[in-house]
């Protein structure tokens, strides 16, 4: 009787440890900040099934993701909630006089203008500028850099973004133009992790060549 009890306890302990270890390992893999990275989408195959739309009218056309709606704050989101430090690249073209850009470290997204938590980097026709802001179900503008030349609709611009800890670096330039606009900004406090996305405000737009790579070494550490 005693031997059987000891055997059961032993089996239970070994099984519990195994369950704990396997589950922890699975969680680690699923929550890994590098799972799914590097990521790229050229929209060449016409497949946008990995993206989730929150407002807007999004379609893949000729290797680009197009939003034909000029409503305020349309978003298209993909990636992992657990991505932390990464660099993101995108080509984008505005189709009218509002603004368009990319979003990073996105979580809790819902339909609505600023209904997500994350960082927005975009080009704004209104004051011909590169804009960085933070959305947390509300809008907080963090930095604005005037562009040397007016934004031209339907012309491709490149945005490169790096997020390391709470340090943000942005580079942008017009296709075929050597003038690179640089912006560095310390975010404090900041969203630490999240998905990526495309966003437009009061303008339609086109995006292509979306790339995300993990960055090694945390500025905050």
């Amino acid at each position: 009787m005693m031997r059987r009890l000891i055997r059961d306890l032993l089996v239970f302990a070994i099984a519990a440890c195994a369950g704990l270890l396997v589950t922890t390992a699975v969680i680690r893999v699923l929550h890994s900040p590098t799972r799914g990275l590097p990521y790229h989408d050229h929209f060449a195959d016409g497949d946008a099934s990995g993206w989730v739309a929150y407002d807007g009218n999004w379609t893949v056309q000729s290797g680009a993701m197009v939003n034909e709606s000029n409503e305020r704050g349309a978003k298209l989101i993909t990636g992992s909630t657990y991505w932390t430090d990464y660099a993101m690249d995108a080509d984008l073209a505005l189709s009218s006089t509002g603004e368009a850009g990319i979003i990073a470290r996105v979580s809790d997204a819902e339909p609505g203008v600023d209904s997500y938590k994350g960082i927005y980097i975009g080009l704004r026709v209104r004051d011909e500028s590169l804009v960085v802001g933070e959305a947390d179900y509300g809008w907080g503008e963090l930095a604005v850099v005037a562009l040397p030349q007016p934004i031209i609709p339907n012309v491709w611009y490149h945005i490169h973004l790096e997020l390391r800890g709470c340090e943000l670096k942005v580079l942008t330039w017009r296709d075929g133009n050597r003038d690179v606009i640089r912006l560095s900004h310390g975010l404090s406090p900041c969203f630490r992790q999240g998905k990526i996305g495309l966003r437009s405000y009061d303008s339609g737009g086109q995006w292509k060549n979306i790339r995300v790579v993990a960055l090694r070494g945390n500025a905050g550490e």
Binding site: I14, A15, E110, G112
Partner: protein, 325 residues
């Protein structure tokens, strides 16, 4: 030994192992399943969000809520006329447990049924931006700008810029946005004391910039001696401004706009508008949340409140605020 006993002996360790694995899995998953306690929520659903007017209102609401240990759930449609989306957002917020609802109605007539349903369930509802159609009561009230004062201040400004005579027009009248009717009505009644000023037209386009732009183009074409335009909403102001710029007429026709929204304050600073009549949206947000908190605490909602209006003009590149012009 019987077969049944042998089977039990074989199954028992398996059962213990399954139990052990389950306990191990649950121990690993426990931190993820635990949800931290969160503050009670007041839902604030304006007509749209992401504009300077609504962001100021949001700020005021956050300040009032935080002081009472409440959270604001802030969301709105991406278009000011998207009634269906507004109803969906409001219903979802209430379903998730919002204790009170603050609404900037996209369409007061379209919201009647859903608002009646909420108030019947004793959920406090506070209207901002414009008042409700239904009579107010213990579960329904409003905090809105003094719409009649909008019209009076705009009319006083028109008297100054036209030197008391000439043709003026109104742009942006929309029966789904009753504040535009009140503003236009009060404007006309105030100008009745100045018979040399004639209101020659009232054009639509309250929440559609393009419609207001088109209306203004037609006005400029039809009334070449037009001296001033009173645009009764932010979108109407934006549309009228674009049309006047396009027609090269913004130096000749004074545009008196409404609401410090979109980028209108910047436009005023740049001289694209003559002036802007606006209410303190921070105050509206703050007072609306205070009303909601009072109702959540079991007190009946106060009667509708009106927030004062001010005139913004430009002196050089500085904006001058006149509270009692």
């Amino acid at each position: 030994m019987s077969g049944g006993f042998r089977l039990r002996q074989a199954v028992r360790p398996l059962g213990v192992a399954v139990l052990g694995v389950s306990c191990g899995c649950l121990t690993a998953l426990a931190p993820m399943l635990r949800t931290p306690p969160s503050a009670p929520v007041i839902a604030f659903i304006p007509r749209t969000t992401g504009t300077s007017f609504t962001e100021d209102m949001h700020h005021g609401a956050e300040v009032a809520a935080r002081a009472a240990g409440y959270q604001i759930y802030w969301n709105g449609p991406t278009r000011e006329d998207d009634l269906d989306r507004q109803i969906l957002i409001a219903e979802n917020a209430v379903h998730r447990g919002a204790r009170a609802l603050i609404l900037g109605p996209t369409n007061i007539w379209g919201l009647t049924t859903v608002v009646n349903q909420f108030t019947a369930r004793r959920l406090p509802v506070i209207f901002v931006q414009t008042g409700p159609v239904e009579p107010t009561g213990p579960y329904l009230t409003s905090v809105t700008p003094d719409q009649a004062q909008f019209g009076r201040i705009a009319a006083a400004r028109v008297v100054i810029v036209t030197r008391g005579n000439g043709e003026v027009a109104i742009v942006g009248v929309d029966r789904n946005a009753p504040e535009t009717l009140s503003r236009a009505d009060s404007f006309i009644r105030t100008l009745a004391a100045h018979p040399a000023i004639r209101v020659v037209a009232e054009s639509p386009g309250a929440v559609q910039i393009m419609q207001a732009e088109q209306s203004t183009r037609e006005l400029v074409g039809s009334y070449p001696r037009l001296k001033a335009i009173f645009a009764v909403s932010a979108d109407a102001t934006q549309g009228a401004m674009l049309a006047l710029e396009d027609a090269g007429a913004h130096g000749n026709i004074a545009l008196i706009g409404s609401d410090r929204d979109l980028f209108l304050a910047d436009d005023l600073q740049k001289g694209k508008l003559d002036s802007l009549v606006t209410a303190d949206s921070y105050q509206i947000g703050f007072l609306a949340v205070q009303d909601a908190l009072s109702a959540v605490a079991g007190r009946p909602l106060p009667p509708p409140q009106r927030v004062g209006v001010e005139l913004l003009t430009r002196k050089g590149s500085t904006i001058v605020i006149q509270r009692n012009p």
